[in-house]
Symmetry: C2
């Protein structure tokens, strides 16, 4: 069905984004290793352009469009990192870009996206997919789906590909799962670069649709938008392409509690001095807190660093001694 | 007078801490470069052990003590990064360590210092120097002064030494100034490694004792403890050794406002996704905001990342769109 989703696509995407996306650093911590009982490597996509891995897939997807398609422009619906990634990629490639955002999106995110030159269209949150589709049809824009898209998947996989370049083979790779773009790309990279590596997907307990889908073999949709601090993982369902890859190449799926996300966030900010977003803490939590037993060499994909300070300060103020 | 304070001391210290202190990364940002109009290199000592450059000097100082002196133990007075640096260095070298802390020091700092195995002695804030001296005399502890100490200066200078290894020669190097340990060490490193580099010391406006001392050629003491967000730079006077080096090798001194510190902190957290402490923002502010004109290749010493979340959240909550 999606048999073109092969490791070679990730290798090609890596070449395509070379010199455009940052080669993000891999950070380690003695304290983290001691707590985890293993050697942990954090692939810091929070230090990527636009502050998230999303730039990789967006640039890969837009750069693969032909000139005629590029001239008409691209569109997507997102209030988060994909919006900023697509806006910057389009700007760099000279492609007109429209982003449909819910009218309740934070002003800071609208400003950041507009800052990359994209046109922002606001609508009611429930209407955003419909509005994006209508605008795409009416204007012949190409819709770049945030995760259910082969070029997005291949581009997202370049972070893991690069991690294997930087640290060699791994025993485990933990990846946060929202729509499934990052984990399906990462799993494709691992197949080629570290065949013995167990790729583990992690979701918040309240947003376990990918866990269910992976176990059931069919895309399972949550009834409500999950209530989790990890705002990047509030998707109700993963993509068909994503499930296709995950069923073949993901070794296991797990979940973490909201408390685990908070404790992990705080550990990284206070002890490792980098700002990661709650979605990234989701991937590290099972390793830091030992809820998923590991040993050996463990990679963790830190997906981004775009946090809402309101939320952060609300729970940081609760308790001072960690 | 202090003619032993030569670049060679920094080179020796670099060899001594090799494999013990982290070689901290140098981070860059296109956005920062665009705003600064120059190529800016941040030497990230916030990612150093104990979260600050202070570990370098402390380890250098303790490792130079002879066995008999080590067995008796070391002492210092500090509620900040020097306390944690000395505690960890002593632990690694098997030396008993006592830290005199004001009884109003944050619980989180006491806990961190005690966590490295040091004995904490609490006293009234005004008494801490006297108490440390008394305990040193009574117990034959060696007092390791936080900045007016040749080994501390040489150790602090290893961060700049390493920066020149990593990025080559620079046109400017901006360094925050509290007691003067970091800038005097950095200036010694620059003399040897990048002779054309202008080393610039930066203080908060309200804590400009080093600016005054450097201009007057004599140590000037502030009447009150300065009221600045940069808690690491609330020293009332620099050391004699520090002034001696600064007068010879520091090109210029400048100050920044509290608003500039806040704007800079926020820029680094939000755009660069690393946690730096307010004292580090002091060094970057003149470059980011253009209050000290520069061009070419500019290094900035990010001294540490130990922030008080209470303070941070208090002013982050004021305004959301940056």
């Amino acid at each position: 069905m999606f048999d073109h989703l092969i490791p070679q696509r990730v290798a090609e995407a890596t070449a395509r984004i070379h010199g455009i996306a940052h080669v993000t650093p891999v950070l380690t911590s003695r304290t983290l290793n001691a707590r985890a009982g293993s050697a942990v490597f954090l692939k810091c996509e929070n230090l990527q352009r636009v502050g998230a891995f999303k730039f990789r897939g967006a640039y890969n997807a837009v750069s693969r469009l032909d000139d005629g398609t590029r001239a008409k422009g691209v569109i997507t619906h997102s209030s988060g990192n994909h919006a900023q990634g697509l806006a910057l990629a389009s700007k760099l490639l000279g492609v007109p870009c429209t982003i449909v955002m819910p009218d309740n999106a934070p002003a800071v995110k609208k400003a950041a996206t507009a800052g990359y030159g994209a046109t922002i269209v606001q609508c009611a949150p429930i209407d955003r997919e419909r509005v994006a589709l209508q605008l795409a049809q009416a204007n012949e824009y190409t819709l770049i789906h945030p995760y259910d898209n082969g070029n997005i998947i291949a581009g997202a996989g370049t972070a893991a590909w690069e991690l294997f370049d930087q640290v060699g083979e791994l025993d485990y790779l933990f990846v946060p799962v929202g729509g499934g773009g990052l984990i399906s790309g990462s799993a494709l990279a691992a197949v080629e670069r570290s065949p013995g590596c167990r790729v583990i997907g992690v979701e918040p307990e309240s947003a376990d649709d990918a866990n269910q889908s992976w176990r059931n073999g069919t895309v399972t949709t949550l009834d409500v938008v999950p209530d989790t601090l990890a705002d990047g993982l509030r998707t109700r369902f993963i993509g068909e392409r994503n499930l296709f890859v995950m069923q073949r190449y993901v070794s296991d799926m797990t979940t973490v509690s909201e408390v685990a996300i908070q404790v992990t966030l705080r550990f990284v900010w206070e002890r490792m001095k980098i700002i990661i977003e709650p979605s990234s803490a989701v991937a590290l939590a099972p390793v830091l807190l030992g809820t998923y037993p590991v040993r050996g060499r463990v990679g963790v994909l830190i997906s981004g660093g775009n946090v809402s300070w309101d939320v952060v300060c609300r729970f940081l103020s609760i308790d001072r001694v960690s």
